[in-house]
Amino acid sequence: MRDVVMMSYGEAIRAALDDALAKFPEMLLIGEGVPDPKTIFGTTQGLREKYGAERVLDMPLAENGMTGICIGAALAGMRPVLVHQRIDFALLSVDQLVNNAAKWHYMFDGQQQVPLVIRVIIGRGWGQGPQHSQSLQAMFAQVPGLKVVMPTTAGDAYHFMLAAIADNNPVLFIEHRWLHHIQGEVDKHCPMAELSGAALLRQGTEITLAAFSHMSIEALKAATVLASYGIDAEVLDMRCVSPLDVESVAASLAKTGGKLVIADCAPELASTGHQLLSKLVLTHGHHLQQVPRLIAYPNHPVPTSHFVANHYYPGAEQIASAVLDMLDRSELTESVIGALQSDLPKDQPDRSFVGPF
């Protein structure tokens, strides 16, 4: 039975939290602002009213302690979902996440488990600046014992959230703020998702675009315009950062003749793209028949001023240029870029979106 509804990514998160609260009586939803009138950009709306203040609650400003408290509750059989409005705040809790949550099941020889979801949002735009728009997925993805996902579509947001909550391991669930308003199909009647595997967003034959989170949207945009110029790119959404699905990329490369552009929403230094590329070389060396490209952010903090922050973020234009360059079709670059350019300020995802960010 299929039961497809259109909803925004943010609504999909809310729906998953709602369904999980109904399904798992031991689930808790906790975080600064969870029950406040802005409800984490709408994603927790109505949940306190529906499930009670004991299960849906705010918390003190104490990220490390509250992470530890949620780990303790998880050991006692609860399923806490801890929300940070910015991934930057999770840096305060690295001790509990890395020293405890990630290792607990292993170091106690499988006798105990930590079913914990840490829900974090990557900020961008409207001057979030150096301390409120970091992209830290690679930092967490390198920790054995943590699962790290960053779904891009509303459907994946819904199913991954449910799967993350059902999972008996700590899962870092990363949302990019600029995905929240994007509509997509959600089929609630799918079987429980696996927290692994890339998603094929667009089939293509000439080149593989492997992209992370919001960059998958940019890659799709690029691929769509490129298609109108007769260039057929395959787009893979690397929705799981750990474990990373190297196999799917390798399989795609086998089809596209080993041509690869990786697009990551992180500084080059912090890009999971390096891990992806390195693993492709180590385990599938011969699929890469041309030097691939990595499109990533520059290696410095995000400056606040929108005049320059706009240039901090590469997008569909940079992806399309790289594709054209690799395919020796640079003569098209100017007109493809022209078709992609918008007059939208680059610090807003769309005109209607003026915060809160």
């Binding site: 705010d58 606040t304 001023s305």
Partner: protein, 342 residues
């Protein structure tokens, strides 16, 4: 402790400084809708007395650290207004070159070292700065002792850290309190208790007990008072600053106040219903400016005409500051890559 009124000149100074901050914040709020100040902005309207009452006792050598809600602290400490505004607009002339926006301010000449928005982030920095000041002073004292034969060391520069009730929940606060007392640092902790962290009331985050008493248990000298009475803040801060300057160790002030606008942004948000009915209205009656104004008039230290003129003069200053800021230049894309490393 004997509570004495500030001298007339001080009271007028306090009022002037508060009005300046109020008018600047109001002007920012008014212009924010134009969508040219494209950064999260936390206004301090309603809380001006604290910044002003504390900073009244500081010299340019004293240092201030602050948080996301930093405009008032910056201005009260003597931070440059036009450069603050240019910063909000993202121009190269901003106090932070446009890199920081509202949440990252600095004016080293004025002794305003920094504000940043990770809650608790600047708290230990202030302590470290105070520690360095203390070490420098003791070095100087040793140096001068050997030169001038045991001359009494001069009073120390002090460092002030402003933070909110929410910040007090962060573990780093406790770590810093412990170190500050251990080293008897010339440091003032100013807790602006406005009872909210974003929209979450204190009661959802902390049990019923006084914040300052925890600081007292750590061994700090503590004060608590009405953060909406500039004269009271002034007096408490006077004692606290004097203590810290004279080597009596870190001081802690818990000051009760209330924020009027929304947590972040230029608007009112009383309609959202997270504050209890009438709460904001009641606090508005206790407006720090209003109370000081009544005092000035009641004590006949000023009159309507003078205050109206003061207001006009400030409005003019702020208009000019905006005019200057709006002529700022865009930071270049090349410049964006500079200064990753010193």
């Amino acid at each position: 402790m004997t509570v004495m009124s500030p001298a007339p000149a001080d009271l007028k100074h306090l009022y002037y400084q508060m009005l300046r901050i109020r008018r600047a914040e109001e002007a920012i709020a008014r212009r924010y809708a134009e969508q040219q100040m494209r950064c999260p902005t936390h206004l301090c309207i309603g809380e001006e007395a604290i910044a002003v009452g504390v900073c009244a006792h500081l010299t340019a050598q004293d240092k201030v650290f602050s948080n996301h809600r930093g405009h008032g602290h910056y201005l009260a400490k003597g931070g440059d207004l036009p450069r603050l505004l240019a910063e909000l607009y993202g121009y190269a002339e901003g106090c932070c070159g446009g890199r920081g926006g509202s949440m990252h301010l600095t004016d080293l000449e004025a002794g305003f070292v920094a504000s940043t928005p990770i809650v608790g982030g600047t708290v230990p920095l202030a302590a470290g700065y105070a520690w360095a000041e203390q070490m420098k002073k003791s070095d100087a004292a040793q140096g001068s002792a050997s030169v001038a034969g045991g001359r009494m060391p001069e009073a120390t520069n002090v460092v002030v850290i402003f933070f909110g009730d929410g910040c007090f929940e962060e573990g780093v606060m406790h770590e810093t309190l412990n170190f500050a007392v251990l080293k008897q640092l010339p440091l003032l902790f100013i807790c602006e208790n406005n009872q909210y962290s974003v929209m979450t009331p204190l009661a959802e985050r902390q049990p019923k007990r006084d914040i300052y008493k925890i600081a007292a248990a750590h061994g700090l000298n503590t004060f608590s008072g009405d953060g909406n009475r500039a004269d009271e803040v002034f007096q408490l801060a006077q004692s606290a600053v004097t203590n810290a300057r004279n080597g009596l160790g870190p001081q802690f002030l818990e000051l009760h106040t209330h924020r009027w606008p929304e947590h972040c942004g230029p608007n009112e948000d009383d309609d959202l219903g997270y504050r209890s009915a009438g709460e904001l209205a009641e606090w508005k009656l206790r407006c720090p400016l209003l109370q000081t104004r009544q005092m000035l008039l009641g004590l006949q230290l000023s009159n309507d005409a003078e205050l109206v003129q003061m207001d006009a003069q400030l409005t003019e200053e702020i208009e000019q500051a905006f005019a200057w800021a709006l002529q700022g230049s865009r930071p270049t894309i090349d410049s964006m890559r500079q200064h990753l490393y010193a």
